[in-house]
């Protein structure tokens, strides 16, 4: 009636383990989303820290060329760092459209 081969057991257990891990993470993220370690782990993955990136790193973002990367670095050294991503709009040639395009690739730490 209910006989599973070893391979089938593996598949079922794999799916259950993924779902189980997912439920656990879902709970953790909902409950502790403001905890720094969770926020750092999830929200900033694959993002470039605007306060430490060098010119080449900034240029790896599509929408930032050499000139703009230099302007960002100049602004950062003048102001002693970024405190909010919105400050990017103060830099010449960063329009609202460009800001929307690049903001998901950047973070501030």
């Amino acid at each position: 009636m209910f006989s599973l081969t070893l391979q089938e057991r593996r598949v079922i257990l794999f799916l259950i383990s993924v779902a189980l891990t997912g439920i656990g993470i879902d709970f953790l993220v909902k409950k502790y989303s403001r905890t720094k370690i969770i926020a750092d782990f999830y929200q900033d993955i694959g993002k470039i820290n605007l306060n430490s990136a060098d010119k080449d790193t900034l240029m790896s973002i599509s929408g930032i060329g050499e000139k703009l990367a230099v302007r960002i670095l100049e602004y950062r050294s003048q102001k002693g760092g970024f405190h909010d991503l919105e400050e990017l709009k103060n830099i010449k040639s960063i329009t609202n459209y460009r800001y929307e395009k690049i903001k998901d690739s950047l973070c501030i730490k």
Binding site: V11, G22, I23, D26, I45, T57, S62, K101, D104, S105
Partner: protein, 469 residues
């Protein structure tokens, strides 16, 4: 010859390579091939002499195939383009791939069927690359009339020019106004590909619905071969660690898809015969869905041959299936031999298949009793074999040498396997039981986040990678 196809494929590839380095005509290669064919017929019953003639024949066949591929048909669009002609061209045809949209610009390959020059219409053939500004909603197979100037690769990087040349695309059209594109509201695409791309859009929709960016972009790249949402920073970081291969659909993904299909069909109690007949079309669909790149075509052919061998209960030979895959790809377009994707894909698999068992027996790992140690050692040797086979190519093409690659692949490839399995589980559950999908999405996001953090850590190790100037 224990593996005749593998040896013959080697001589075929050698013929293509040598022919690309010397300037000889198609007729010379063809005439010599005919002579060696006759010689092979006359020495049919002589062992060694026949083999030598056969090798020469296959070598010349490779050479003739390459020279023939460089000869454009009379109706090719390239033959209608004149540099004295300053007026824009009007071309009718259809979109031959999925249009890529980036920064208000759409890029696609256009199959030309008719060209208008100086009020004369000519039937034509051949593909062109089109860049169109301010155009939305174009799709694969759509029939269009385009108006614009045609040029030969102006403003493109050398590596991209080589890629286009190998794909048989010699002209670029740039369209600045949306009014220069007339949409004829007809679809001339291949039905199976239209379905595959529709399915791909659905899958992309699921991934972006349940998984936040940029993890969604990484997952899309890993299971659908769609890299448009992978940030340049992530891409560069993966190149530095030598693990960028996981961001494209490769043989590894195709093998996993085959495994998932077979396991699901087994769970549903399908017979062995039914499993084979269902799995083959699904694998072909996956190949189309991911853009039928060289690594996927290679892996699809090899997987189908493996399934066939399993189906007819014979022992599959990896070198033979490897050779068949290469012959199919090079038979269609011999210039693929010079494509970086083709070279990396075949070299990595070849070095794993060739080096790994030899290294394993040389180091005596078969006698290792501890299972965990054996797993780690196996993992290291597979990663090391692939690195040995590809590091020269990576250094040549990407100007980077990454000693961290072996360690990175040991850690990242198992994680990528897990991500791929989680991603496919997410898609299947989102289709069948949507309430369960968020849990699979959470696991996938965690795995992607872990992968990116491990990668960031690895490239921050001193001497992890060097740029070669």
């Amino acid at each position: 010859m224990q593996r005749p196809l593998a040896v013959l494929t080697f001589f075929f590839c050698l013929g293509i390579f040598v022919s690309s380095q010397i300037s000889s005509s198609f007729l010379l290669a063809y005439a010599l091939a005919v002579i060696f064919f006759s010689a092979s017929l006359f020495s049919f019953k002589k062992g060694l002499v026949f083999n030598i003639f056969l090798f020469c024949l296959v070598f010349l066949l490779g050479s003739a195939v390459l020279k023939n591929s460089g000869t454009l048909p009379r109706c090719h669009i390239f033959n209608y383009v004149s540099y004295q002609h300053n007026q824009p061209y009007m071309i009718r045809g259809f979109i031959a791939n999925e249009p890529q949209v980036k920064f208000r610009r759409t890029a696609f390959i256009f199959k030309a069927q008719e060209i208008q020059t100086a009020n004369l219409h000519h039937r034509c053939c051949g593909d062109i690359l089109v860049y169109a500004k301010s155009t939305k909603g174009l799709s694969y197979g759509e029939e269009l009339i385009l108006k614009g100037n045609l040029s030969k690769y102006i403003g493109l990087q050398q590596s991209y020019r080589n890629y286009l040349h190998n794909q048989g695309i010699f002209l670029v059209m740039r369209i600045k106004n949306a009014a220069d594109i007339v949409r004829l509201n007809k679809n001339k695409g291949f039905v199976l590909e239209i379905f595959a791309l529709w399915l791909k859009k659905k899958m992309e929709g699921i991934i972006s619905k349940y998984i936040p960016s940029p993890a969604a972009g990484v997952l899309e790249a890993m299971i659908l071969g769609e890299r448009k949402n992978v940030g340049g920073f992530i891409n560069n970081a993966m190149i530095k660690s030598g693990t960028v291969h996981i961001l494209v659909v490769s043989g590894f993904n195709t093998g996993l898809v085959a495994l998932i299909i077979i396991l699901i069909l087994k769970l549903l109690r399908f017979s062995k015969k039914a499993r084979f007949y269902i799995a083959v079309p699904l694998l072909l669909l996956y190949c189309l869905l991911t853009g039928a790149s060289n690594p996927v075509v290679r892996a699809t052919i090899m997987t189908i041959l493996y399934l066939f061998a399993y189906f007819v209960k014979s022992e599959p030979d990896i070198y033979q299936s490897f050779a068949i895959a290469a012959l199919v790809i090079l038979g269609i377009n011999p210039r693929q031999l010079f494509d970086v994707g083709f070279q990396l894909s075949f070299m990595s698999v070849f070095s794993i298949v060739f080096l790994y068992p030899r290294l394993k027996s040389f180091l005596g790992l078969n006698f290792l009793k501890n299972k965990s140690l054996r797993f780690i050692a196996d993992n290291f040797l597979v990663s090391f074999s692939a690195w040995i086979g590809t590091c020269a190519f990576v250094a040549y093409y990407f100007k980077i040498f990454s000693p961290v690659t072996v360690l990175a692949n040991m850690l990242i490839v198992p994680l990528a396997t897990l991500i791929t399995l989680c991603g496919f589980s997410l898609i299947i559950f989102a289709f069948l039981f949507p309430p369960l999908a968020p849990f699979f999405a959470s696991s996938s996001t965690l795995a992607v986040a872990l992968l990116l953090h491990i990668n960031s850590f690895l490239i921050s190790i001193p001497a992890a990678y060097f740029y070669l100037t």
